[in-house]
Symmetry: C2
Subunit: 109 residues, 2 copies
DNA sequence: CAGACAATATATATTTTTATATAATATTTT
DNA sequence: AAAATATTATATAAAAATATATATTGTCTG
């Protein structure tokens, strides 16, 4: 574990604020699933809807949250809008969580 | 990035539920700061209060949340109650966040 | 080009959850 | 019993989540 005790409280609070800001965005089941999908491939809304079984307006709303906060980026292709991860920090947290909650039980995928 | 696309949606949802459950607990500035302190040392409430400048009842309330959810464990010594981290998963997420939000700017501590 | 259709986004209202502050109470040691 | 420390209860405020309805944008057909 890294030693954070030397940091003054103001600095720590600032970092904690940033960190919790990111965590709040990730701490939502649908958004988490969206990001997991997007960590594997760029996908359009319809594909996400099909894979996750989330109703379109909910989907679009959560994608909107992620977009406004910079966690995902988009690209339009005809009537489809493709989403991809746009924040490497989110990706790294996702990776840690994968190790903790998905990889257990000898699944060495 | 690990490949999660092969997991069926039910399994993914279950894992996402667990993961977001943990994240919700971490996505709170005071709780985050508490856990950061406790990642370095076992501390009693008074010490936490002094280090973080959080009012005692707020502190106790958030410690209560963390305790009920198993993220921290306690030990009594006289009139003091010492807290320590009780969930290795929390520790690992904290470590990732430290790398992303605290270690930047050439701080090689 | 108008009109229809398909994909995605936004707005709004409602409910639920979470946070915050204060006050009151409990526990343990001396 | 008193002092120090910690916990719980309660009320209020603020923030998120959810569902439903509606709007926008682009494409294709006749």
């Amino acid at each position: 574990m890294p030693d954070t005790t030397g940091l003054d409280i103001e600095t720590m609070r600032a970092a904690a604020g940033e960190a919790t800001g990111l965590l709040r965005l990730l701490a939502h089941e649908d958004r988490m699933l969206l990001l997991c999908q997007l960590s594997q491939a760029e996908l359009c809304v319809g594909e996400l809807e099909e894979r996750l079984g989330i109703h379109q307006p909910s989907l679009s709303q959560q994608l909107g949250v992620l977009r406004r906060e910079g966690l995902v980026e988009t690209r339009r292709e005809g009537k489809h809008i493709y989403y991809r991860i746009g924040d490497p920090r989110a990706l790294q947290v996702l990776e840690t969580l994968y190790g903790l909650f998905c990889k257990q039980n000898g699944d060495t995928r």
